[in-house]
Amino acid sequence: MPHAPRPQPGPVRLAHWVNVPLLAILAMSGLQILAAYPMMGPQGAPYGVYPFQGTPPPGWTRLGEWLAGARHWHFAFGWFFVLNGLCYVAWLVGSGEWRRRLFLPRRDARDALHTAAYYLRLRKEPPRQEPYNGLQRFAYTGVLVLALVEVLSGLVLYKPVQLRALTALFGGYDPARLVHLGVLALLALFTVGHVVMVALHPRTLGEMVTGGRRHE
């Protein structure tokens, strides 16, 4: 009989830890790029919805020292982020792990709501942890979708004319720039929530490092 899978198989752990420095590099070099023009909307018509018009992100959040340096960091490491994401998705599909990890609304929506209610102290029953509860599946599937939108909006900013169909899909260059920053904020929010949940369930950190015990 084949071994039952570990809670976190090798490919997941590799993709996860490779992502940590990549996301930090991309977020911080992106904020250095933003500092060159910390406005949203085309020249002469700034967007009213953006609350930080004219305010550059604080220095400690930035990487690359200046615009050209940050652009080189961003466009160098963006490839590795895309490659890591593609490898992860290919593995999800190839190994069949997508069934265990992805959010399928009909199966997981109710459990996701119950779990959210538990963390908000609206329900007493603790959520299922094995393998993943609905809320986890929602979060880890949602963050994949966010990453995809982040890459696509980034490609629009990189090549708005060569990829003009994609640019049109986002409603234009400046809307894509707003989406690119907005999704970064959502990714940052996910990371904060993720780290808080790991702090509440420290066993999961060990599993992401060693793979965890096999469940027979």
């Binding site: 420095p21 023009y37 340096g69 466009f75 160098a76 490839w79 060569q162």
Partner: protein, 235 residues
């Protein structure tokens, strides 16, 4: 060799950390065109050239998208708005059959191209204006540019600002020597009497205050390119 752990000198962890340290050590933000960042930029340049479609046009923008008067940024590196020297004319040289000098009237007699497209600045902003002028490809025909001249260099009287372009981008149908903006003669703040404009490059490639166009067999650099910005800089 007496390793207490039994000979595994190079563990996976030290190998990973070592690789990461070497990779990050080769990333020097102040010299981004060297080291690992430079190698990745050369890869990105090949990717950009491969992605570049000489037939694909930047979309025409509607009149409502025009940037309101005064809001289109002005940019030059001199202390004041550079003014054309008396008797200004464009010098055309390099690998061409008929090198020479063209006045603004000579250029106006050539086929005229008009468009209203979006400008993409390396800083991240965009703006819209309409431009008119003569295609660089028309100029190449007029002077008999040699097919071996696969690069075009544009020079200015703005404190030596210059840039060199790959042929396919320079000969793109939306790459023009512009002498007009928003239906009027090109104003001094935007590069009068003649500037380069294009739908397929970032703003810093579009040299203003032109003095010379050279058709060359090799790429040269550029004002910002020599300081660390990307050379290809397509959009």
């Amino acid at each position: 060799m007496s390793d207490p752990r039994g000979g595994r000198l190079l563990t996976r962890r030290t190998w990973l950390l070592g690789t990461a340290a070497v990779a990050l050590g080769a990333c020097d933000s102040s010299r981004p065109r060297q080291g690992f960042l430079g190698a990745m930029e050369r890869f990105n340049q090949r990717f950009q050239s491969a992605l570049f479609d000489p037939e694909r046009l930047a979309p025409e923008e509607p009149a409502e998208a025009l940037t309101r008067p005064g809001a289109f940024p002005q940019y030059f590196i001199s202390d004041r708005v550079p003014l054309a020297p008396a008797g200004w004319a464009l010098q055309v040289g390099g690998l061409v059959a008929r090198p020479g000098v063209l006045s603004l009237d000579d250029l106006r007699l050539m086929p005229r191209t008009d468009y209203r497209i979006r400008h993409h600045c390396v800083e991240g902003w965009s703006a819209v204006a309409s431009w008119h002028g003569v295609r660089v490809s028309e100029l190449a025909k007029l002077v008999g540019a040699d097919p071996r001249a696969r690069f075009v260099e544009f020079r200015s009287f703005d404190a030596g600002y210059y840039s060199s372009w790959d042929g396919p981008s320079a000969f793109h149908p939306q790459t023009i020597l512009a002498y007009g903006m928003n239906g009027a003669p090109l104003p001094p703040e935007h590069g009068a009497p003649l500037r380069l404009y294009s739908g397929v490059k970032l703003g810093y490639k579009m040299v203003k205050y032109l003095t010379a166009v050279n058709f060359l067999p090799e790429p040269t650099g550029g004002y910002w390119e020599d300081r660390g910005y990307e050379w290809f800089a397509g959009v």
